[in-house]
């Protein structure tokens, strides 16, 4: 009763807000925010329920099933909260743009479609919602005209390719097992042969890999995420990619089941190790490419590709700690990546640019956004006391203890690369000297500050008390058949070295207070203005005293030749090849009616000739 009401409210709210927007702007804004918040409350009330409902629409005799379990609930709460926060952010971001009715409609439809995906209990409804999400995302990515149109085109072509692979897999499952209900597929598929399982894994793997931007399939992500409007970039990076993660979780742990997945073998060329290897490479290469970027949102987009590698590595590795780490990292990544995209969006809104070479010094002008970005950076790096630390710690620990030294090495080097590009982001935007042209930048409006503050508080809360989400994740893990973890409010206790965040928190707090007292015991300091900086005896030149361009210049020169985006060039190569083939075809199908009439007449003449000569009919 409740699950379909959730979906009806979500979709209906979207359409109603569009219609309301035709009459009044403020009414539509309030209604959109109200609907998103109502969805959050609704999903929160559904905690702990486990529901499965079937609807028959006379669709090939297949029932469409809606299902709610712990996994769906966890994803649903993330989707709805992030959707609500980004809608609140859009209130000021989209204030004076055109086609705002369309924007809010699409935001709410994307939200609703993602809720539909996680609540779907059979593959047909999953596919329907997946497609609704894909094309509504495409419409939103191409919202700003210009380069966004090309970015959207790249995205939709790759996404449709993935959907076609999904369709192939789904149809083959239907032919073999005569059902598409997920809970019925699970026991049935364990009887299939190894080759068939590999085929299913590949077909679905391509589909979810494209959505989750695993390395060969990531080419759409940097363009799409940097060209979309900022609150939607937050949703894209935070949640939309993770629908691929949800797909992988369904595929590997629900449909295939733990025994079959672990029984697939762990040799060097097995699916498991190839997926882990792809995850590890996805961590390293995009992290280094992110260091070379000069556009703030593009840097964050490449960072998303890198962090998605951690999630895939965690999920594919197959132990309970790794799964917990992967799912917790999904949750943390949604929080901090959305926070960073919203912060960069606020800066773009006020300063008018997101080019890292020309910003600087905005920490004093936009302090709330600065602190939010700082917390986001710390979570991205994985500083202890933020949530990112716990999820990365879980992944590292299981990689080390299971003896996969090289995967652990890739994951750890990824963290150091993350430190480099996140420092570049925060230095070039918020620290350093303030350029003259940005001297009149004002603070971000309240409706932009609110999501930033809420997300920062959430990150810190789940970092100090990780037991709150870890309890839910533990329930998910046990529902897949893993052994339960020993979760306490402060961390995980186990025999080979416990993680006790409360120890670390108090240690840092008390030591910090001691150091602060030591600091205050020194002679008082004089606060100076920004221009009074060391310049070898000269007065600091205005606007020329900030080091931003090519921030990691020595490293660029070393690693740039190794970091060409080969997959992008391959995809463009394929696209141009197909276009030239179509160009050859154009010689025949010229679009000129005269040619077509000539073809028809020639063909009729040929038929008459054949009839007269050999009289076949």
């Amino acid at each position: 009763m409740t699950v379909e009401i959730l979906l009806i409210v979500a979709f209906g709210g979207a359409v109603l807000s569009y219609l309301l927007g035709k009459t009044s702007d403020k009414g539509r804004d309030c209604f959109a925010v109200f609907i998103s918040l109502a969805l959050v409350a609704f999903v929160a009330c559904l905690y702990g329920r486990s529901v499965e409902r079937t609807f028959y629409f006379g669709f090939f005799g297949i029932g469409l099933v809606l299902r709610l379990n712990m996994l769906s609930w966890f994803f649903a709460i993330t989707i709805s909260s992030l959707g609500a926060l980004c809608t609140i952010f859009s209130l000021s971001y989209m204030k004076d743009r055109e086609r705002t009715d369309f924007y809010y409609l699409m935001m709410l439809v994307v939200n609703a479609a993602m809720l539909g995906i996680v609540l779907a209990g059979d593959l047909v409804s999953f596919y329907v919602f997946w497609e609704v999400m894909s094309w509504s995302a495409f419409l939103l990515i191409s919202y700003n005209k210009g380069p966004a149109l090309a970015a959207g085109m790249k995205y939709i072509v790759m996404s449709v390719t993935g959907s076609v692979c999904f369709l192939v897999g789904m149809l083959s499952l239907y032919v073999f097992f005569d059902t598409l209900n997920i809970s019925e597929l699970a026991p049935a598929i364990s009887s299939a042969s190894g080759g068939y399982i590999l085929f299913i894994l590949t077909a679905f793997g391509i589909a979810f890999g494209i959505k989750n931007a695993v390395l060969p399939f990531h080419a759409w992500l940097p363009d799409a995420h940097s060209e979309a409007p900022a609150p939607f970039s937050a949703v894209l990076s935070g949640i939309l990619i993770k629908m691929g993660t949800y797909g992988f979780l369904l595929l590997l742990y629900v449909i295939l089941g733990l025994k079959v997945f672990l029984g697939l073998g762990r040799g060097l060329l097995s699916y498991h190790s190839i997926l882990c290897f792809l995850g590890a490479v996805t961590i390293i290469v995009p992290t280094f490419i992110a260091m070379l970027q000069t556009d703030a949102k593009r840097l964050l987009a490449w960072s998303t590709v890198g962090q998605a590698g951690y999630i895939i590595l965690g999920i594919a590795f197959g132990t309970n700690l790794a799964l917990a780490g992967g799912i917790f990292h999904f949750f943390n990544h949604a929080l901090f990546k959305a926070l960073l995209f919203l912060a960069v969006g606020a800066v773009e809104f006020r300063a008018g640019t997101r080019n890292l070479d020309s910003l600087g010094g905005l920490a004093k002008k936009m302090p709330v956004v600065f602190i939010g970005a700082l917390v986001g950076i710390c979570a991205l790096i994985g500083v202890p006391l933020t949530g990112g630390f716990v999820s990365k710690w879980l992944i590292y620990k299981t990689l080390i203890l299971e003896g996969s030294g090289f995967l652990a090495f890739f994951a750890l080097v990824g963290t150091w690369g993350t430190i480099l590009y996140s420092y570049k982001l925060i230095h070039n935007v918020f620290l350093g000297q303030l350029p003259e042209r940005h001297r009149t930048v004002e603070k971000a409006p309240f409706s932009m500050q609110l999501p930033v503050v809420v997300l920062s508080v959430a990150i810190l809360l789940f970092g100090i008390l990780p037991g709150i989400p870890l309890k839910v994740i533990n329930a998910i893990g046990t529902s897949f058949g893993f052994e339960p973890l020993n979760v306490t409010l402060w961390g995980i206790a186990s025999e080979t070295g416990a993680l006790n965040t409360i120890n670390i928190f108090f240690a840092v707090l008390i030591v910090g207070i001691v150091v602060w007292l030591l600091f205050c015991s020194g002679a008082k300091s004089v606060s100076v203005r920004q221009q009074d900086s060391y310049a070898a005896g000269a007065h600091t030149p205005v606007d020329k005293y900030h080091y931003t361009a090519e921030f990691y210049n020595p490293l660029y020169r070393m690693i740039k030749p190794f970091l060409r985006d080969v997959t992008d060039e391959i995809y463009y190569g394929i696209a141009f090849f197909l276009r030239s083939c179509a160009g050859i075809l154009r010689r025949i199908y010229t679009g000129d009616v005269g040619f077509y009439v000539t073809y028809i007449i020639l063909f009729l003449a040929f038929l008459i000739f054949v009839q007269l000569k050999w009289k076949p009919w």
Partner: protein, 189 residues
């Protein structure tokens, strides 16, 4: 050197520390700087006395104004001096800062540096040998011990007269006045 007398340390740690840890800013103001590399290298080792060169004025507390001061250099000297944190000590090195020295009739040099920057002590010579520098350092220690090395306090108290002298020599200064009002916030925006 009374560096090792514990009772003196306990009675006046600030004074003792200021004496035995003089970091000189490595700003080569004029030709006199040629005598400084021998002082800080192996033959006449200044590090025994606790003197090492510091990279920026923020980290330094001793300013050696070595050699003649041209008008262009005076700007940099004033800026560097103002960027040093207190307590700070300046030493005029060579005859030129004292009274113009060899360039007593040049149109381009400053004859009496004391009008623009407070100087705690002078070392006569053209150039002073390293031994003279060490004797000067011991004299500076005596001054610090007796609380007489208070050039920075003189600067703060008589800032208007120093600033008007500076403006007469250099024209319009690009930095705002250092000490109009409170010590908390220096300069304006």
């Amino acid at each position: 050197m009374d560096r090792n007398q514990i009772t003196k340390w306990l009675k006046a740690p600030a004074k003792m520390a200021n004496k035995y840890s003089l970091h000189a800013i490595y700003f080569c103001t004029g030709c006199g700087i040629i005598e400084v590399p021998p002082v800080i290298t192996a033959r006449w080792d200044a590090e025994r006395f606790g003197i090492i060169p510091a990279a920026t004025p923020r980290q330094a507390n001793l300013f050696l104004i070595t050699g003649y001061v041209s008008v262009k250099t005076l700007r940099a000297i004033i800026r560097t001096y103002e960027q040093m944190p207190e307590p700070k000590y300046t030493v005029g090195f060579g005859s030129c800062p004292i009274n113009g020295g060899m360039y007593w009739d040049s149109y381009n040099t400053i004859k009496h540096l004391d009008k623009y920057i407070p100087i705690d002590g002078w070392i006569a010579g053209c150039m002073p040998r390293p031994e003279a520098i060490f004797i000067a350092v011991t004299h500076l220690w005596t001054l610090i011990e007796k609380d007489m090395a208070n050039g920075y306090i003189r600067y703060k108290d008589n800032y208007e007269s120093y600033r008007s002298n500076q403006e007469m020599a250099l024209g319009k200064l690009e930095w705002p006045p250092l000490y109009p009002a409170s010590d908390e916030h220096r300069g304006g925006e």
